[in-house]
């Protein structure tokens, strides 16, 4: 099993290389001159030329790329073109905020969507189910940033209960977390519902009923356990969406996090910062995928068998990812 984990970790490397090279190459086509950005508007042509030489901008793209990645591997993410600070330092300051938002919303999604979905499946077509169907439809149609603004209007402007900026207090975290989680609540509660309904139709549930087992036990031990697979997939994907979504939410609520850092960097063509953001997100997502795949093995003994028996099943398709 640990061999498999190791293999997967190794797998991340080519993907990381692919992603970073892609972004680096794309950015090299970007209009605008980094030397200009650093030295400012009044810089003289010779100063610009010298700066360009210093930054290594005259070398071919691939050399620049390798130079950059070499630095990354030793922990040097370069210096921001716009803030002039070491990028690593910028990240260190902002990382906690983004982590709070991302993991906080992930947890919130999990806690709300799964029980809700189970209830909706059990009470299929009831009044509650139908009401939730409409509520879910409307909530899912709201862009996160709009919901954020509306919540601010209601809770900050009109009622004055919650702060609309920053992450200083727990109160301040409420609205951003809710905005980030809403999309996850809507998709996942419906997913859990659908998955449970699917499982309930299976023959082994009929067997469980024929055994005279109590209802609650059937739902928990037989239905839910089997319904978990697509849910795990979805939560795995939610991590990716949280990383992306935090960009918008941080802007709306004025939170100093990695997302905001990246957007500012993109606007200012601050390449080192952009690259650093991309690397961090790619790593987070790759780890999330790995965790998701491992969870599959944990939940479903059929998949576990393909990993644990090394000899004959070494060519298991697991390496390519479980396709949904």
């Amino acid at each position: 099993m640990s061999k498999y984990v190791f293999k997967r970790l190794l797998h991340i490397i080519p993907v990381l290389i692919g992603v970073t090279f892609l972004v680096f190459a794309l950015l090299s086509f970007s209009p605008g001159d980094p030397a200009q950005a650093i030295l400012g508007v009044g810089a003289k042509p010779e100063e610009l030329a010298m700066m360009r030489e210093q930054l290594g901008l005259n070398d071919p793209v691939i050399v620049q790329y390798l130079r950059y990645m070499g630095g990354v591997v030793t922990g040097n993410f370069g210096t921001s073109y716009s803030t002039k600070q070491p990028v690593l330092e910028m990240i260190r300051i902002r990382l906690p905020n983004t982590l709070i938002l991302s993991f906080g919303s992930l947890l919130l999604i999990f806690i709300v969507a799964i029980p809700l979905g189970v209830v909706l499946a059990i009470k299929q077509n009831s009044f509650f189910d139908n009401v939730m169907r409409v509520v879910t439809l409307i909530l899912a149609a709201m862009p996160g940033f709009w919901l954020g603004l509306m919540l601010i209007i209601l809770f900050s402007v009109k009622l004055g209960w919650l702060p609309s900026n920053g992450l200083e207090s727990a109160k301040a975290a409420i609205m951003p977390l809710v905005c980030l989680s809403v999309a996850g609540w809507t998709t996942n509660s419906r997913l859990v519902r659908a998955s449970m309904l699917d499982v309930i139709r299976q023959d082994y549930i009929r067997t469980a009923r024929a055994k005279g087992l109590p209802y609650r036990r059937i739902v928990r031990k037989h239905a839910l356990k089997n319904a978990l697979m697509p849910i795990v997939t979805s939560i795995g994907m939610a991590i990716g969406q949280c990383v992306g979504g935090s960009v918008i939410i941080e802007t709306v609520f004025g939170i100093n996090g990695l997302g905001k850092m990246m957007v500012d960097a993109l606007r200012q063509k601050d390449i080192p910062t952009i690259m650093a953001s991309v690397i961090i997100s790619a790593v987070i997502i790759a780890l999330a995928n790995l965790l998701t795949d491992l969870s599959y093995a944990f939940i479903d003994p059929r998949i576990r068998s393909t990993y644990v028996k090394p000899k004959a099943k070494a060519k298991a398709t697991a390496g390519g990812g479980v396709s949904a």
Binding site: Q202, D203, Y204, R206, T207, A208, R209, A210, K211, G212, L213, P214, R217, K221, H222, K225, N226, I299, D300, P301, R302, S305
Partner: protein, 343 residues
């Protein structure tokens, strides 16, 4: 063992059962005034084509008919003195798995893929007999050995077993609490012929050991001949002929029964066409009036479309049939003939 009926009153007595399903295409008349009786220690075969209502009957006995869209309109299902149809869901659950067990047709999907097999057996023991988890597990492993699955495989998962072994696990689950009645819905249909023989052999062994009364649902007359004491032939939601194995096989009386037996190819006879009963099972939404079989019956006369046949007793132990021919209401002179001497 087969000859001794332990007590005189039947273990299971179904009277006048009517079950319908309300669908967007109309009302499905799945079971139409069914009468069935099973004595203690007996194995009764419920035979019929697909669509006759055999599984619905089994589900009705188990109380597993989903209430919309199904409904039990009338009738009694008397099991060991109690009319099951009067039970609450709570009470019914105490019967399922412990007094009445059911095994289904497809072993490949009948077991929960994420639980080890011993757990699935132990679960029902712990639930009904209140044993501790350890004791329940011990009993579960005993059951596995009873169905000839070695104890060292007890913690493996269903996908690691073959189809025949899975079905044996299913049987172990069903018999774990020593039920009085076992309902087996086509237990060997989904299996290879060789495995079929093994599983049937095992079921016979268990029947002899535990004395469980069995309702064997099947469309395979070979299986019936191998394992059953009595036979009930089902058509369009009702029993049209019933009796001991000997009586029904040697003197099949209902034209449908005769047709069924006649449709089995004889190994030593050469024929040009396979014999078959013409026509199809009637649409349960739109059943023919009078005798349900009359549109396909070569002995049918106009009276058959008007009257529903009553029960007529025939010579033999408990042999009865529902057909106007035997009520003497028809003009025919020659009785339907056919037997299974050569099967």
């Amino acid at each position: 063992m087969r000859e001794q009926a332990l007590s005189t009153d039947p273990l299971l007595q179904i009277e006048d059962l009517v079950v319908q399903f309300v669908t967007s295409d109309g009302i499905v008349h799945a079971i139409n005034r069914l009468h069935l009786s099973l004595n203690r220690g007996e194995t009764l075969a419920l035979v019929g084509e697909t669509g006759a209502g055999k599984t619905t009957t089994a589900l009705a006995i188990m109380g597993l008919i989903d209430s919309p869209p199904g409904r039990v309109v009338q009738g009694e299902i008397i099991f060991d003195g109690v009319d099951l149809l009067t039970l609450t869901e709570e009470e019914y659950r105490k019967y399922r798995g412990s007094k009445i067990s059911m095994i289904f047709q497809d072993p490949m999907t009948a077991l929960n893929p994420v639980l080890p097999v011993a757990d699935q057996i132990a679960e029902t023991i712990a639930n009904h007999q209140g044993l501790s988890d350890e004791h329940a597990m011990e009993r579960a492993i005993e059951m596995l050995e009873l169905v000839r699955i070695p104890a060292d495989r007890a913690y493996e998962y269903p996908h690691q077993f073959s189809g025949g072994m899975k079905q044996r696990v299913v049987i172990a689950i069903a018999l774990a609490c020593n039920p009085q009645l076992l309902i087996a819905d086509e237990p060997t249909t989904a299996l290879d012929v060789t495995i079929q023989a093994q599983v049937l052999e095992m079921m016979k062994e268990l029947h002899d050991k535990l004395g469980t009364s069995t309702l064997m649902i099947t469309h395979d007359l070979g299986v019936v001949a191998e394992t059953c004491d009595k036979v009930a032939i089902m058509y369009a939601g009702e029993i049209i002929e019933s009796g001991t194995l000997k009586d029904v096989f040697l003197n099949p009386s209902h034209p449908y029964t005769v047709g069924l037996f006649g449709s089995i190819p004889k190994i030593d006879e050469e024929v040009e066409f396979l014999a078959q009963i013409e026509g199809l099972m009637p649409d349960p939404v739109d059943l023919p009036p009078g005798c349900r079989f009359h549109p396909r019956c070569k002995y049918a006369e106009p009276a058959c479309a008007e009257q529903a046949p009553a029960f007529t007793n025939l010579p033999g132990e408990e042999h009865w049939v529902r057909c106007l021919i035997y009520e003497g209401k028809l003009q025919i002179t020659e009785l339907p003939k056919g037997d299974l001497h050569n099967v």
